[in-house]
Subunit: 380 residues, 2 copies
């Protein structure tokens, strides 16, 4: 199998599954229990928090665990936004990039029904937010800015430093980054000290499903999305998914340890893939602005799904848009925001890599892309 759909989900490593299993069996106590088993479980939670905080440049008491990136984005845009609003009742604006994941975008109608004024920040043809437009939207009415670090559909890396500079004039504005696609090769983006909140998702970096991470500076007010037993200092009740949290902390440390090597290898792979695609007359998107692990390209007029299944016939797995959009056949939202004509964007596919991607995977992919493209050209 040649798996090029790592932005949809990654395969957990045997090491991670082994940690998961060990913790599940040996530390099965409820961290809220008053006895020794509870204390041991709680200690593991604390060290996972420390390790994650160190990588992100946050304090351990600024790391909270939830069940998914989607849950964290809903937590940020609903109760946390409400808590921010209570401190700034005179402010009402929320700035969201026009290329956010559905976990953010699909909340907009709810936010508007609650009376917030939501403004979408435009992006340029390379999938990066239009800084001039961002600057015009920034004022003292703004409560929250939410812009992802790396786009999930075309891979565009967002101009974090420049955003930080523009935000200097607005110290009260809370800045949230959906960092779900940053871990493979762009962890450094998360370390911009001006960022107030970060969302991460375990299954995007070879951990098990079901762990979302919210990193939130002390200065940001909070309200719980889930009310109950008072776990996570009352901010996110539910019995802690200890095994998943410990495994995820280990997976994140691993990604951080091998980041430089992954970055370099995937950059080379990405260069080779793009060169081949361009020689075969594919249109490549966000060519110069994308994360090392994502290539998004189109072979118009062949529909993306046809390309996906043609590659699948060769045991290569890719996606058309984001996994979340694939099954529901949504339009390619990011390419639309980049003003790509529909007749081209409907032909787009996404190839997404991970540290586990090998030379052999890429050699096979390139060879197959040549065959498949020729096939379609003959029918064109």
């Amino acid at each position: 199998m040649y798996y090029f759909d790592n932005s949809a989900t990654t395969k957990p490593t045997p090491e991670i599954l082994n940690i998961y299993q060990k913790v599940s069996l040996n530390y099965f106590g409820n961290p809220s229990s008053a006895h020794k088993l509870g204390e041991e479980a709680k200690a593991l939670m604390t060290s996972a928090r420390k390790q994650i905080a160190a990588i992100l440049g946050f304090e351990s008491n600024e790391i909270y665990f939830a069940s998914s990136g989607t849950e964290v984005n809903n937590w940020v845009m609903q109760p946390i936004l409400k808590a921010i609003k209570q401190i700034h009742p005179n402010r009402n604006k929320v700035l969201i990039s026009s290329i956010e994941h559905p976990a953010t975008m699909k909340q907009i109608p709810l936010l508007e029904s609650l009376g917030y004024q939501v403004e979408l920040i435009k992006v340029d043809a390379n999938g990066q937010i239009d800084l001039a437009h961002f600057e015009t939207l920034l004022d003292n009415e703004v409560l929250l800015v939410s812009v992802m670090g790396v786009n999930n559909e075309v891979g565009a890396i967002q101009p974090v430093k420049e955003m930080a500079t523009l935000l200097q004039k607005y110290p009260q504005v809370i800045w949230h980054m959906d960092g779900v696609q940053t871990i493979t090769s762009q962890i450094a983006l998360l370390r911009e000290p001006r960022i107030d909140m970060i969302t991460l998702s375990s299954h995007k970096f070879h951990s098990v499903r079901g762990v979302g991470i919210l990193a939130q500076r002390q200065r940001v007010p909070n309200m719980p999305l889930l009310h109950g037993g008072g776990q996570e200092t009352g901010r996110r009740s539910s019995t802690e998914n200890l095994a998943g949290i410990v495994a995820t902390s280990r997976a994140l440390r691993k990604m951080n340890e091998i980041q430089a090597d992954t970055k370099e290898r995937l950059a080379t792979y990405r260069g080779r893939i793009i060169e081949t695609l361009k020689n075969l007359d594919w249109q490549v998107f966000a060519e110069t602005t994308s994360s090392e692990h994502i290539v998004c390209a189109a072979l118009a007029p062949i529909p993306g799904e046809v390309l996906l299944h043609a590659l699948e016939a060769h045991d290569i797995f890719v996606s058309t848009t984001s996994a979340c959009a694939s099954r529901s056949h949504q339009e390619h939202a990011t390419l639309k925001a980049m003003k790509t004509p529909d007749e081209i964007s409907k032909s787009a596919i996404r190839l997404s890599m991970a540290h586990s991607t090998t030379d052999e995977d890429v050699d096979y992919l390139l060879k197959t892309l040549e065959q498949v493209t020729e096939q379609f050209k003959n029918y064109a």
Copy 2:
């Protein structure tokens, strides 16, 4: 180790962890992906839904997956209640038993701030809801009734049949049951056909952490708590925790297969434990009304925490109140609702069993209870 804290959390079985590991490795594709790996993952989701539905007496398309029992209870009391309210704008009452888990109770201030009229249903000295009081609260103003099947602190089984009879006059009233404590020996409670919604939590029946189940009849309207990629037919977005879901479906089937045996064995164990405790002058709560797996008793004036740690010194693990309350040293909410004087309830501990509890565990527990009780009597 002699583990008598199964109501806090259970130890996952090797079989379940093995299933979890196999699915994580062999079916790691994102169920939302359009390719074969996505299709395979989706097929596993569908069969898990079928199997759970068959056990609960629901349709497969009435089973939804979330991350915890707490999340499901928050989903029910917030967006789902809002959806019910939209259909019955003239209704405004929510009836909640006075002994619900914090995952329900802690939402009351929020519900009241949203304008709902929340009424607590009284319980009797045995921890069962007062049916006469329930009847007086029932009228055409009621949107939702939420009563747990088995109480988590004293184990009291609620009078589900009698509730169903009282609800016959009110077909529009939606009935939710927090069934988190029912799986060990009271699954039958969940099969009352009048129940509209059920909450279950994976880690309470020897599965992994992180899977909550909402069973919801078609007729009940729904709104999502988490907005995003549109998973769970748009009702609960987040990449599906496939391995956890498949493992949980297997764990639930297992609990159902061995239910009769578990029920019989735990009833015997419970009888022996209660007999010993009474001979040692402990006060036993909900003696005649409790589920086979829970014994709640007090040795006043010795504080529950002192008893807990005295037993811990003998490698026996119990809890004072619910795990969620233990660390925060909350009062024993259920005993308070049962009108137990504080000076007695503060001496209460909970012993909770599972199918994995053995004769040897119980023999050792009884011997140790005698020693520990003597110890304290000498100091009294």
